[in-house]
Symmetry: C2
Subunit: 413 residues, 2 copies
């Protein structure tokens, strides 16, 4: 017997038929003797419609009212899922964030879960009761509904798993696991059976949008094994058919490189001929931080004469115009030449074993050089190497690296 939290995303509860299929899976988990709590997203499309309503009224709407409106989608799915389980002879009831309660910070629209009172749910497990929790939402101390931001249902699921001291948190979605790279680009991409929290975090933050970064961080911190699996397959979570995200020491077979990720959402800004003085990075990044613009990669070149230097960094494409405006308005850069480039892509090699394998970065650089792909910016961490290259080389680079690191699926003769 295990205690499991199972989360179903929007496409997995898109209509009544899919809600019924999801309920079938839960029924099989219950039949195995497991204690199960279910977390549901809104039916796909619903949240977008609700957000559109809010924006139609006013772009600058009150976030507390926004939360009231958009949280209703999960409320509907939770009630429907409880009904579908009851129809299968299973005791079930829905829980809204305020009923549990799931206490959240006052940061409406992107609130953080502060505590979950799971006592009542645990009490009901004794009566074989399945708890169906509306994801993405909680309640503030002022008794207003707060939402966790898009994709927040993953976070709800992991937080609930932690509060329930669950053995595993299954994230049912529309893909059957995490892949070594995007299967749309590389046909030989393979499903990863097990990956460490750190590896998953890098993959998630680099554009592999299977799990919300915050939910992986929380699972890591609370040591909850997370499984990404498909709601469209026949398998259930206890069959372990998906990708298990767990502690490094629980992974027997360790790949040096887990996967190749890419991210097309960034643009590059370079400041040429700016004074090479201490504190220049702060001078550049200060205005970005003030304008709430996320800066990702940062490279400062060594200047030949020690007087002027070049400074390169990346920002989300959507924020590019705002970023340039900010820099131009700054007295410090009045003489600087500013160049922006949207036609770039970030390619990353991610692997928990990298730190002890010096050759990993070298393989990346050599592979790209061999294909004639120019590297514009390099950034490294303990478990990843990222480069910026021209966008047109995206597919070629990802495929070549996938092969170079031995990630290609073996062809069946």
């Amino acid at each position: 017997m295990a205690r499991i939290v199972a989360k179903f995303g929007g496409t997995s509860v898109a209509d009544i038929e899919r809600i019924e299929r999801a309920a079938d899976k839960i029924a099989r988990e219950v039949a195995l003797g497991n204690e199960v709590a279910v977390v549901v997203s809104a039916m796909s499309g619903v949240t977008n419609q609700l957000v559109e309503y809010c924006n139609d009224i006013s772009e600058g709407h009150d976030v507390r009212e926004y939360d009231t409106v958009v949280s209703s989608g999960e409320q509907v799915t939770a009630g429907l899922m409880a009904m579908a389980l009851q129809k299968r002879g299973i005791n079930a009831r829905s829980w809204m964030g305020w009923q549990v309660p799931i206490l959240c910070s006052e940061a409406h629209g992107k609130a953080r879960i502060e505590s979950i009172d799971s006592a009542k749910m645990i009490e009901r497990f004794k009566e074989k009761d399945v708890a169906v929790l509306a994801g993405f939402q909680g309640v503030t101390e002022r008794e207003r509904i707060a939402t966790l931001g898009r994709g927040g249902s993953d976070t709800t699921a992991v937080a609930l798993a932690a509060a329930l001291n669950a053995d595993r948190c299954d994230i049912y979605t529309d893909v059957d696991g995490v892949y070594t790279t995007d299967p749309r680009i590389v046909k030989k991409a393979q499903k990863i059976e097990k990956i460490s929290y750190e590896g998953m975090l890098e993959l998630a933050s680099l554009g592999a949008k299977v799990l919300q970064t915050r939910s992986v961080e929380m699972a890591y911190k609370r040591d909850i094994p997370l499984q990404v699996l498909s709601s469209f397959d026949d398998a259930i979570g206890s069959d372990l058919p998906g990708t298990l995200v767990t502690r490094e020491e629980d992974i027997m077979e360790k790949h040096v490189v887990n996967g190749i990720a890419y991210d097309k959402s960034e643009a590059k800004i370079t400041l040429f001929d700016i004074p090479d003085s201490p504190g220049i990075a702060a001078k550049v990044l200060g205005p970005m931080s003030e304008a709430n613009i996320n800066v990702d990669m940062i490279v400062q070149n060594i200047s030949a004469d020690g007087k002027v230097t070049d400074f390169t960094f990346t920002v989300p494409k959507d924020d590019l115009d705002k970023a340039i405006e900010k820099l131009k308005a700054d007295e410090a850069f009045k003489d600087a030449q500013i160049k922006a480039n949207k036609d770039i892509v970030k390619i990353s090699v991610v692997g928990i074993g990298m730190v002890s394998h010096a050759g990993v970065a070298q393989t990346m650089f050599a592979t790209l050089a061999e294909k004639g792909i120019n590297i514009q910016v390099i950034s490294t961490s303990e478990i990843k190497v990222s480069v910026i290259i021209a966008k047109e080389y995206l597919e070629l680079a990802v495929r070549s690296l996938h092969t170079a690191y031995g990630l290609d699926m073996e062809e069946v003769a």
Copy 2:
């Protein structure tokens, strides 16, 4: 300055444009210095969609989960309305039933409001705050969401008006008031400016579906003037453009007859040749009550020989088959001949002044006789006379009676 509750029904908040128009009306009430609380229904079509989801999963769904699902529609509108008011520079916040709280009975799906804690709203009136309340819902002592049944937002509005000790409750809808009869049948139907609670109750219960009966009863009991008015006109509630439902003594000009109502939803059942013994009515109606079938009109004929009699009553058309089944299964009626007729209509003349005007019923019978319309069943109360006639005479009967009671609008030359 007045304290007003304004309720907007589904068609009045059907889309963002209509929510904005409704907000404009509230803004004008606020500009007049009034304290305003708003009660909103779900956007039209939303509740039906949610009910359909529930029925798709299971006809016998858990009513607590049903309430969780269907109450979400009002939650969305309340948040959107609060935003629309804020956009107009008005302090506003949404309130869900559980936030107020509006304490309800445990009778999920058709709960009764037991109490409304209006202290916080009244406190906020001092800061010119408009309260936007999600209609149709409350919370039980077990902290589950409960709904009041279809049309329950009218009841929410009147209950809130009572709790706030409001001067008036405006019900904005898609018609501009209560009419002397259905304007689709009688072109010369007139809008009633003022009508008593009792008169409105009879009209409402007889098929004039402008106001939910329970909301009129509650307004009557709590002495809250109710106004039915259009959300599509330019006028606002304080212009008193609609039909005001109020105490009889507040109505200056008293019509003997307020209006002509009709109801096509019933079917007639007659039992022939049943033993004319005491308690026969109870024997017929007992099984109906057991089967939860509402019996409306009841007529027992005097038997010529004192041995057998005929017994006629009406039930909702939808329950007709079930009613007949029940009767046939009953030992007491094993020899009775049972006849049912769906092609009937109930026509009612309603007026608070009727009790003191003996001629009112006589006018009705004479008018119908003159047109060759046979009366099948008659039933009277202090303020109405109802008859059952063949359905084919519906329009002729309503038009003739409307003229006979002097209700026709005068033609403008």
